[in-house]
């Protein structure tokens, strides 16, 4: 005989709690190892005296990163590229999304489709011709080059996301404003944008973290230290071999922190914006 539904519920709840414990461990252990390594002396990292828990925690690795490597420069570069591409893509996307959501003109459905299509084309299909193009334009080894290159991803995605939000702002509000003498531009700035604040937050989050996390373009377009961002900078540390796991994990912890903190703060909006438009899958 089938069990009573309530009994079944209780069984599944128990199984769920057990599974949750495993999932928390599976998620947490890699983080733990990253942070623990960053706090260890070399003696505790390698060889027979290696430990699982740092016995004498130290911040030496962090000091090494700042003293002996151009990490600060990488940070500055990442920040500049992320800020630049976020600002630009935001402006371009707000205008584009408003046009598609609210204005009537031939070809807008086609343009909307084109935007989404572009967003879904992965950069690994484009990096070779982009590299050739950037070389010709002399935009390799340059932060400007990276800012421009990132627009190719950020603009389509942000436009798509904002389009949906703008549509949900009641048209009547805008029409009322226009009767009162607002033109399209001021209706956009005064009515639509303030009402789409959550979407603007999500868009900022996505373009900022995308630029911060991006690796392929940054790696391919950059060959000198001066224009390296954090991601390609750290991978470069690894391939140089002199630089080992203590300082490398210290810089990994520091570089992972900003996007994680941003995610935790904006989580509620991000998850909503992501459910269909995920950036990494």
């Amino acid at each position: 005989m089938a069990m009573r539904v309530n009994t079944q519920r209780r069984v599944f709840q128990g199984v769920g709690n057990g599974a949750l414990l495993l999932m928390v461990l599976w998620t947490a252990i890699p983080f733990y190892w990253m942070v623990a390594t960053s706090l260890k002396h070399d003696k505790e990292i390698y060889g027979y005296e290696a430990t699982l828990i740092p016995e004498r925690p130290t911040l030496d690795n962090y000091a090494t990163v700042f003293r002996e490597t151009p990490y600060l420069l990488f940070l500055r570069n990442s920040l500049a590229v992320a800020a630049g591409s976020t600002l630009l893509s935001m402006i371009i996307a707000v205008l584009g999304a408003y046009a598609i959501a609210r204005l009537n003109f031939p070809g807008r459905a086609l343009l909307a489709r084109g935007l989404v299509f572009t967003y879904l084309v992965p950069t690994s299909l484009l990096f070779i011709p982009m590299f050739a193009m950037m070389s010709v334009l002399r935009l390799t080894d340059s932060l400007h080059g990276l800012i421009i290159a990132y627009l190719g991803f950020d603009v389509p995605f942000c436009t798509w996301l904002l389009m949906g939000y703008f549509r949900s702002v009641p048209v009547e509000l805008e029409e009322a404003a226009r009767v009162d003498g607002c033109n399209r531009v001021s209706a956009l700035v005064r009515i639509v944008l303030p009402m789409s604040l959550p979407a603007l937050v999500v868009v900022t989050f996505f373009s900022f973290t995308h630029a911060w996390n991006e690796f392929l373009y940054a790696h391919v377009f950059t060959s000198t230290t001066s224009a390296r961002t954090v991601t390609t900078g750290l991978v470069n540390f690894m391939s140089q071999d002199v630089f080992f796991w203590g300082p490398l994990m210290a810089s990994t912890v520091m570089s992972a922190l900003p996007p994680v903190l941003m995610f935790l703060v904006f989580q509620r909006w991000v998850v909503k914006g992501l459910t269909l438009g995920g950036v990494k899958g």
Binding site: P106, M130, R178, M238, G278, K280
Partner: protein
């Protein structure tokens, strides 16, 4: 969803007679068509310049022998011919399919499991939800570096623990053993990619009306029956989108393989984006060959891309 109809409003007549300078311009700007193209111009420029043009030039490149910064020499189908007779390329095709299928499959199963567990009610559930999603928020490069250290031959976490527990005598080379390398890389892919499925599925689960379950319970349906007759069918559209999106991003994702194994040992983990990278940017700089590798995979990806494009526009109420 209905398309937004725009009522064009006449300019108030009091304004019309004043003849102020901006009047003509602002009247021109009032027209949807002008303003629409004006507003979309920068976005179109981005699409054309940073996606459409590079893509078209990639197609041209596949018929050329070309290095960066120099004009290419037309060689017809030679690149493709060489590619299809190269064992490395054929291995990359097989690897990419296996890597994507296993990776996405595992992410799907684990993601569904996590979503179901997180959908149960319990103490501090929101905290667990946030925490389990964090691997998604970590930059891929940072996860890859971290896992490379976890898998380290000599002092990595896994070998460290296994030796301590006396389970192994000699440390295992997770990333350079031909039989283990692919599996190890997939573990990392699954670790970072599962939260995306969890988030998508959880959102889907929460959108299912509670009444359906209540009604089923009254009819005497067991929990498993409720799952297979209510939950699964309701989640189907999300299943399809998530799997397709993940398949695109997993197969085309270059970072994990590049950082963990660089395609080795002896091409055991070589997938198409990494092969394209090696051909185009390793030593010989054969941009045409690299572009050809990517292009061969495009027809498969484009099926997913077109399908997702339609769906993403529908969900956002597009026309």
């Amino acid at each position: 969803m209905a398309t937004t109809t725009t009522v064009s409003l006449p300019i108030p007549s009091s304004r019309r007679g004043l003849g102020w300078r901006g009047d003509r311009i602002s009247r021109l700007l009032m027209r949807d068509r002008t303003l629409g193209y004006l507003f979309l111009f920068p976005a179109i420029l981005v699409i054309v310049g940073l996606v459409a043009y590079p893509f078209a030039s990639a197609i041209v490149m596949t018929f050329q022998e070309k290095t960066a910064g120099a004009p290419g020499r037309f060689i017809g189908l030679d690149n493709y011919r060489e590619l299809f007779s190269s064992e490395q390329f054929l291995r990359a095709v097989v690897n990419t399919v296996a890597y994507t299928a296993i990776g996405v499959g595992l992410k799907f199963v684990l993601g569904l499991g996590m979503a179901l567990v997180l959908n149960q009610e319990r103490f501090c559930n929101n905290l667990f939800r946030s925490f389990l999603l964090v691997p998604w928020a970590i930059p891929t490069v940072m996860s890859a570096l971290n896992w490379r250290w976890i898998f380290d031959d000599a002092s990595g976490l896994i070998n460290n623990v296994l030796v301590r527990l006396n389970l192994i005598e000699e440390t295992i080379s997770w990333l350079s053993d031909p039989h283990l390398a692919m599996l190890s890389v997939i573990v990392v892919v699954v670790w970072q990619g599962t939260p995306f499925f969890t988030m998508s599925f959880l959102a889907g689960l929460q959108a299912i009306p509670k009444e359906l379950y209540e009604a089923a319970e009254i009819d005497g349906a067991s929990v498993l029956q409720q799952f297979s007759y209510i939950t699964l069918p309701r989640l189907r559209p999300i299943f399809i989108s998530a799997v397709m999106l993940s398949a695109i991003l997993t197969s085309a994702g270059i970072q994990f393989v590049l950082i963990l194994t660089n395609g080795g040992p002896s091409d055991r983990t070589m997938i198409f984006p990494v092969l394209a990278y090696h051909l185009a940017l390793g030593g010989a700089q054969r941009l045409g060959m690299g572009a050809a590798v990517s292009l061969v995979f495009f027809p498969i990806l484009v099926v997913f891309i077109v399908f997702l494009t339609r769906r993403m526009l529908r969900e956002k109420g597009g026309d």
